[in-house]
Structure formats: structure tokens, C-alpha cells
């Protein structure tokens, strides 16, 4: 496998772990490596215990590893809590004088992080640059790449800040070169600058996908872990003529999105489970009025406030059933950033073509983690706005019927003010024209009309990803953010001689259930892998396919799966 190094940086909120991991991630990405950075943070601004973990490989990587090769402790708490994850031969970097920690182990390397920061960088807060320099020296990477990166990172803050950071990083780097006498085995060979790949979070991939799909209107209310989507769209809204209207609550956000879409703009919102609870009323409104909307639900552990900064996949059942009554919808759950990016394009197209809500599920683990990806191409997202009519295309201006009956269930839509016709839209059961009705005949026809759209939607739901395609004794079944951990677990199991494969669904509902599964899964024992208590996808899968699930590997402690953890559970349950 070549390079596989995991660097964990731990400390208190506010000590700059994120900055260290991002700077390292950016350097390795630019030089051609693949990076995965996950954030393990508490719901607080200062203090507590947080860590970021940077994993570097030569092949695409989408999962955490339990095996930490380099641990950078910015406080005593990190040593107490994380030292046990350091593998044999791995090194701990810590500040002896400030943490009060002593050790005879030659791999526990104390260096005066704070003193070097004060001397070279003129401030204690430069500790993170000292640590970054020290880490790169240990990894055998060149200092110059770091100095270039620091200049870019801080140029907006002025020359002095750039100089202080560069001096601090150099001091850390030199200190390790001069004082570390051991042999550190987990090195990352320096490579030339390429700048071809991108480093971005799951949230950023979703937001970029939405922007390339022609997003024009966003309304939302900040809620962890969905907020970075809103913030990213806000940051480019002025340049790209997107309206971002902060809402008074999620009810308003959803209804503004519905209004904007009715008005003719591609519109979306994003939230987490609790906010989605408030949006559900509006979700039904979009279903009934046949208004296209896109909603991203970034899951976190619930119910109620739950664990605001941690991860879970427990809102699948909620999102596929949300709102009273029956109406068609599509639900997606991408597993990696490229998939998330292109799924947004599909989501917007399907919302407008079927004139109904489309939901994309993310979770804290996927949305907050950074991934290196090969270049994304916005032009590959083809925009299809569905059946919008104006001018001569309207059969009769006077007799235009918003909910005209048709076999597909899709009625041609006009945009208000863009033609001489007028459109009546109603949340009550309505006639083809859109007026309130109590007629049992019309009711039946309208339910049929709406639900028929589900046939078209079902035909467009893509198959799961199977990896590898050989026969297997162990089949890992999952969806959404467990993609990376499952794929890697399968890889390791096959290397150990255990025939395994993964079946990963990113297009969840309506489930693309076809005979295909019975053929491909007849031999293997199926293990559902999910970040929830009950195995929500496993139930949906069994319900739709009739295929029983042998075992469930479930995790609901708010933390993501590692490949090692999945393998251990498979072996235990075999």
C-alpha cells in the first residue's frame, strides 16, 4: 500500500489543531498525495479535548485509522486520552515543561514548543506552527513546502504574521533535526508541487455541487453540522449572484425556499435533524403543491439536541417518511465528495423534473472531514429544469391548468410573470386548475397523479457500488459516510484471505431494488454496517428486496467507524 501515515493533533478548543491539520493536508494534497482529515470536537469554543487526525496515502483515502503513527499533544489531556492509540514505533511530540509529563520511552519526544514559539514567533499562539514544523521534520518532508504554504495561508494578515509563522515553523523543524536521535519509520517522501488535486470537506463538495447546478436562492438557520454549507454559499454569494437569506427559523427557511422555487429560482436549504423537524411541515407543502426543492440534512446524534458536534446515521427512516400524507420524494446519501458533488446536480434536476422534494443526507463525519479529490468538473453537471412552459408552448393562456392530468403525473409548469397565463397553487387538495376541491373523484386522480411520479423517480435511481465484483463470503452492506471504512475493511479482509465485498448505496429512496441483488448476494453472509442503533437501512433493504440481513454491525456512540473496527466485528460475528 505504500505510504499510510496517520498524524493526530490533540489539544483544547482554540489551540489551532484545525490549522495544523489543514496546512499539512494542503501541502500533501498539492504534492500529489491523498489526505483524509477528520475532526473530533466538543461543542464548545474554548477548552475541552479535541483532536484532528490527518491520514496520508498515495491512493484515495476516505476513512480514519485506529493506528496513530504520530501524536502531537498540545496539552496534557491529549497525552492522557490519546497515547494508547499510538502504535509501536510511533512518536509522541509533547512539551515537557508545560504539560508536566515525563517519560523514559525514547519515542516520547519532549520539545519546548511554547518556548520556541515565544522566541521565534514572538507569541505563545505560534505553538501550532512550531508543531507543524516539528511534524514535517519527523516525517522527512521538506521545510520549503511548509514555508511556501504558510506565506499563502497568512498573507492576508500581513508580513509580520507571515514572518512569525515561518520563523516558528523553521524553529520547530530545526529542533527536531538537531535533537531527535531515534529512527522514525513512518516517513512521507517529498514529491514535486503539482497543484492538480483539491482538498475540501463533504460540506464544501455539496455546496460546490449546488452552485454548479445553478443554485440561485438559499435560506437557512445555522445548525451544526450543516452550517459550513450555508457559510460557504454565503462566502461566494455576492460574486455569483446567489441570494442567501438568513431565516428566523427553519420553518421560514423551508417556506422561503418553496416561494423562491415557485418564483422560478433553483432553491435549497440545509440543516440537521432538529431543524429538519421544523421543516417537515413545509416538506409536505412542497409535495402537495408540486414545488421542486432540495434539502440537505446533515445528520448528528439525536434525539433533541443529542451530540451536536458528533456523527450518526439515524435519520434515514425519518427523512424517507417525514411529513403526513403520501407524496413522492427521492433521498440520496453520498459516500465521498465526488459523489456528493455530482449527486447535487442530479438532485436539482430530479426535483425540477418531478416537481417534488429531493433530500440529500450527509452526516457530521462526512460533512466536516477533509478529503483530497481529483479535480471536479462543474461542466459535467448538465442542468435540466424540467417541464417549464412559456409563450407558444402554453396550449391555452386562458385555460392553463397547473395540475393538468397526464400519464407521467408531471404537469407543465409556468413561472409567475414569465407568461400571460396565471397559475393557482394550493396546499388543499385541488382541481387540475389548482382550486380547492372536496370531490372524491378529483382527490383520487390527484393522489394517483402525484404518486405516479414515483415510477419515473424509481427508474432513475442508480445502483449501489460493488467493490470488488468477485464472489464473496462476507458482504458489507452500507450507505452514506461509511463508504471509506467499509471499502478499506473489504480491502484488508481480502488481503488476509477472507473473501469480502462491499455493497454501498448512495441512492437510497426509492431503493433501486432489483433482481440483481438476489443473484449477486446469494452466497455471502450480509453484514449491515451503520452508524445507528437499529440498522435502519438494513430494515429498508430487507423490506424492499426480501433478502434477510445476517448480522448488523452498529455504532451509535457518536463516533465514526474505522476499518479495523469493522473487521474485528465481522470476525466476531462470523
Amino acid at each position: 500500500m505504500g505510504v499510510d501515515v496517520s498524524i493526530r493533533i490533540g489539544g483544547q478548543a482554540g489551540q489551532g489543531m484545525q490549522s495544523i491539520s489543514f496546512i499539512m493536508g494542503k501541502i500533501f494534497t498539492r504534492h500529489g498525495y491523498y489526505v483524509f482529515i477528520n475532526q473530533d470536537v466538543e461543542s464548545r469554543i474554548r477548552g475541552g479535548h479535541n483532536f484532528n487526525q490527518v491520514r496520508v496515502q498515495e491512493e484515495p483515502v476516505h476513512a480514519i485509522s485506529d493506528e496513530v503513527n504520530l501524536l502531537i499533544a498540545l496539552d496534557k489531556g491529549t497525552i492522557d486520552q490519546d497515547l494508547s492509540d499510538l502504535i509501536e514505533g510511533g512518536v509522541l511530540i509533547f512539551d515537557g515543561p508545560t504539560t508536566g509529563f515525563t517519560s523514559d520511552n525514547p519515542n516520547h519526544f519532549s520539545m519546548p514548543l511554547e518556548k520556541l514559539a515565544t522566541q521565534a514567533g514572538k507569541s505563545k499562539i505560534m505553538v501550532n506552527s512550531v508543531a507543524t514544523g516539528a511534524a514535517l521534520a519527523l516525517l522527512g518532508y521538506d521545510l520549503q513546502s511548509l514555508l511556501v504554504r504558510l506565506e499563502e495561508e497568512f498573507v492576508a494578515k500581513g508580513k509580520e504574521i507571515v514572518a512569525n509563522n515561518r520563523e516558528s515553523a523553521s524553529a520547530g523543524y530545526r529542533y527536531v533535526q538537531e535533537n531527535y536521535k531515534g529512527v522514525y519509520p513512518y516517513r512521507i517522501p517529498p514529491t514535486p508541487l503539482k497543484r492538480k488535486k483539491m482538498l475540501l470537506t463533504g460540506s464544501q463538495a455539496m455546496a460546490l455541487g449546488a452552485i454548479c447546478s445553478g443554485l440561485k436562492f438559499y435560506s437557512g438557520y445555522p445548525m451544526s453540522p450543516s452550517t459550513p454549507i450555508m457559510e460557504f454559499i454565503a462566502s461566494i454569494s455576492e460574486e455569483y449572484d446567489i441570494i442567501l437569506e438568513p431565516a428566523e427559523d427553519e420553518i421560514a427557511a423551508m417556506n422561503m425556499v418553496i416561494g423562491a422555487s415557485f418564483g422560478g429560482a433553483r432553491a435549497m436549504t440545509a440543516t440537521s435533524g432538529g431543524g429538519f423537524c421544523l421543516m417537515v411541515e413545509g416538506l409536505g407543502l412542497a409535495g402537495m403543491t408540486e414545488t421542486p426543492i432540495v434539502v440537505v440534512v446533515v445528520q448528528r446524534p439525536g434525539p433533541a439536541t443529542g451530540l451536536p458536534t458528533r456523527t450518526e446515521q439515524a435519520d434515514l427512516r425519518f427523512t424517507i417518511h417525514a411529513a403526513h400524507g403520501e407524496f413522492p420524494r427521492a433521498v440520496f446519501a453520498p459516500g465521498y465528495p465526488e459523489q456528493a458533488f455530482y449527486t447535487m446536480g442530479k438532485a436539482f434536476n430530479m426535483a425540477e423534473r418531478y416537481q417534488t422534494p429531493v433530500i440529500i443526507l450527509g452526516d457530521q463525519h462526512f460533512n466536516d472531514s477533509y478529503f483530497t479529490v481529483d479535480e471536479l468538473d462543474g461542466r459535467q453537471i448538465r442542468i435540466d429544469r424540467g417541464d417549464i412552459v412559456s409563450g407558444d408552448k402554453i396550449p391555452s393562456v386562458e385555460g392553463y391548468k397547473r395540475y393538468a392530468w397526464g400519464e407521467s403525473g408531471i404537469s407543465p409548469r409556468i413561472l409567475p410573470g414569465q407568461s400571460a397565463a396565471v397559475s393557482y397553487v394550493d396546499s388543499d387538495e385541488h382541481t387540475e386548475t389548482g382550486h380547492i376541491t372536496e370531490s372524491s373523484e378529483v382527490r383520487k386522480r390527484m393522489v394517483l397523479k402525484r404518486m405516479r411520479k414515483l415510477d419515473g423517480i424509481s427508474r432513475e435511481m442508480g445502483p449501489p457500488e460493488m467493490y470488488p465484483s468477485n464472489d464473496a463470503d462476507v458482504v458489507l452492506l452500507g450507505w452514506g459516510s461509511t463508504y471509506g471504512a467499509m471499502k478499506e475493511a473489504v480491502h484488508f479482509m481480502n488481503r488476509e484471505g477472507l473473501r469480502a465485498k462491499m455493497l454501498h448505496f448512495s441512492e437510497i429512496y426509492p431503493l433501486p431494488a432489483r433482481n440483481f441483488f438476489k443473484k449477486t448476494l446469494k452466497d455471502g453472509k450480509i453484514f449491515a454496517v451503520e452508524n445507528n442503533y437499529s440498522g435502519q437501512f438494513a430494515d429498508l433493504f430487507s423490506f424492499e428486496t426480501g433478502i434477510p440481513i445476517s448480522q448488523k454491525i452498529l455504532k451509535y456512540d457518536g463516533r465514526p467507524f474505522s476499518p479495523q473496527e469493522i473487521i474485528a466485528q465481522v470476525k466476531e460475528k462470523m
Binding site: K196, C212, F217, I243, E248, G259, L285, I436
Partner: protein, 286 residues
């Protein structure tokens, strides 16, 4: 030339005979014709309640949404296409309870909408329960011992929220109401028109006679300056023997749609996407 005939709807009206809604509908149609607004360039957004059925009885674009959610839908429509004339319409229950939060924030945004609230001080569609504007002590099936909570004063709330057009009309004076609606539509920014209206089926206290003997036009007796905010606060509190109608407060403030940079050149609905312009965003991730 837009005529009343252009606003004719075939949808049969489902209101009780003698309902104040009929004259509000007439005042609204007359106002739209007076202003020569084309039906295809108007959107009326409504919620749920007897008042919220109004847009079905005109011919124009209509979004009859959920109870209390008129204003966010109307805001979204106006931002997607600010060239449309957007009105929101509903009752006191819809606007002042279920939609209370949206009401405050729509005024804060100063989005260019005209909001007509049919205020009959009662829940009509659900058959006569106490509403947020029912009088203290009002007896109904939900408050058999009499309402314990005093009524909300929407005009005071609007003036305090710096709403730039705060008016009260009366369904019994169609011409006056029609003029208020025209002024409201012409006003740049959020316009609230609270319309007093008897509920002939359920409200036995605030009847047509009750209102008729109390309402007076604020400009009739002496010159009234609606730009004086302190005076407006005073007038807005007058209720009981005498109830003022007319434009209570007027103020100037930029609207959300004017300030929004994304639509300075053209409305969102007219903008075309050029994906090649996104290169610089991609570059920032490399």
C-alpha cells in the same frame, strides 16, 4: 387596459352570506384595476382560514400555502422575481399567532410586500374559537370562562418593528379600504393593512354595528401626520369607544430586495448559469 373582467374567477365562493370577506375582495379587485396591474404579474400568497381562500376568487397567480406561512413564501417569491407585485393575505389567526415570528421578521426585512390581514377577532374556519385579537374575557368554546389573555395589538407591534406602512381598514368602507390597498401596493417596502371585519356566523360581540358605530377616519377631523412615530404609537393604542382607520404610520427605509446585490441587475428568474465562471472557486481548493 386592465378591467374588472380580467380579474374574474370562475371558482365558486365558499364564504357565509354576508361575510365581510366579500367587500374586502371587492376592494382588492378595485385596487388592482385602479393601479392597472396585470393579473399575470401579480402573486397573492395566502395561508389557511376563510380569509386565505380570497385569492381563488380573483384571476391572478396564487400560492395558497400553509397556516401561518404566508410571509416566508411571499418573501421567497419576491426575492426570486422582484418585478412581480406580491401580496400576502390571511386572517388574524394565520398572521398574528401561527405566523407571529414570520410577521416580525418580514417587517424587519422590509421586503416589498403588501400584507392584508382580515381581522375578525375570532377563528372562523374552525368555527368560532378565541383568536389572538379577541377581546379580554371573550367567551368561546376554547375559553368558556372568558379569554384570560389580552388581545395583541398588531399596529403597535408593526410600528415598533419599524414597518414603513401601517394601516387599518374596515370591510364596511370598501372605497376607503381600496384606497388603502392601493397606497400599500405603491409603498416601497413591507405594508401592513389590518382590516376590521365582522364574522357574521360566530362573533356576536364585534358585529357590523359594533364596528360601524366606532370607526372613524383619522384624517376626517383634523390633519394627521403619519410620519410622526410617537403620535402613531398613541393613535395605535386608541381602541374602544373610538377606533381609528387609515394610514397610522409611514416611514422610509431601504427594502431587502433593493439591497440584495444578487438582483441589482436582473431578477433571479432571468439569470442564466454559466458554469465556466466557477473556475476561480475550484482554484481556491487546489
Amino acid at each position: 387596459m386592465v378591467t374588472l373582467e380580467d380579474y374574474h374567477s370562475d371558482d365558486p365562493v365558499a364564504w357565509c352570506p354576508g361575510c365581510g370577506n366579500f367587500s374586502i375582495l371587492e376592494a382588492l379587485k378595485n385596487a388592482l384595476v385602479e393601479l392597472q396591474e396585470k393579473p399575470s404579474e401579480i402573486v397573492i400568497v395566502s395561508g389557511i382560514g376563510q380569509a386565505a381562500k380570497t385569492p381563488h376568487y380573483l384571476r391572478c397567480n396564487t400560492f395558497n400555502g400553509l397556516h401561518g406561512r404566508t410571509l416566508p413564501v411571499a418573501t421567497g417569491i419576491k426575492l426570486a422575481n422582484h418585478e412581480l407585485t406580491v401580496l400576502a393575505e390571511g386572517g388574524d389567526g394565520d398572521g398574528y399567532t401561527e405566523g407571529g415570528n414570520h410577521f416580525i421578521h418580514a417587517m424587519r426585512r422590509n421586503i416589498d410586500l403588501t400584507y392584508l390581514v382580515h381581522n375578525n377577532q375570532i377563528y372562523g374556519l374552525t368555527k368560532g374559537q378565541t383568536s389572538p385579537t379577541s377581546e379580554l374575557g371573550y367567551v368561546s368554546k376554547t375559553t368558556p370562562m372568558g379569554a384570560l389573555n389580552p388581545p395583541l395589538n398588531p399596529l403597535l407591534l408593526a410600528i415598533a418593528s419599524d414597518c414603513g406602512f401601517v394601516a387599518r381598514g374596515f370591510s364596511g368602507d370598501t372605497l376607503h379600504l381600496s384606497n388603502l390597498i392601493q397606497e400599500g401596493i405603491l409603498h416601497k417596502g413591507f405594508a401592513l393593512i389590518d382590516i376590521l371585519q365582522p364574522c357574521v356566523s360566530f362573533n356576536r360581540v364585534n358585529t357590523f354595528q359594533w364596528y360601524s358605530s366606532r370607526v372613524y377616519k383619522i384624517n376626517d377631523e383634523e390633519e394627521y401626520d403619519p410620519t410622526n412615530r410617537l403620535k402613531a404609537f398613541e393613535i395605535a393604542q386608541e381602541w374602544g369607544e373610538r377606533i381609528p382607520i387609515g394610514i397610522i404610520y409611514r416611514g422610509e427605509r431601504s427594502t431587502l430586495n433593493e439591497q440584495e446585490p444578487a438582483i441589482r441587475e436582473e431578477s433571479l428568474v432571468k439569470q442564466r448559469i454559466d458554469q465556466s465562471t466557477f473556475e476561480s472557486i475550484f482554484g481556491s481548493f487546489k
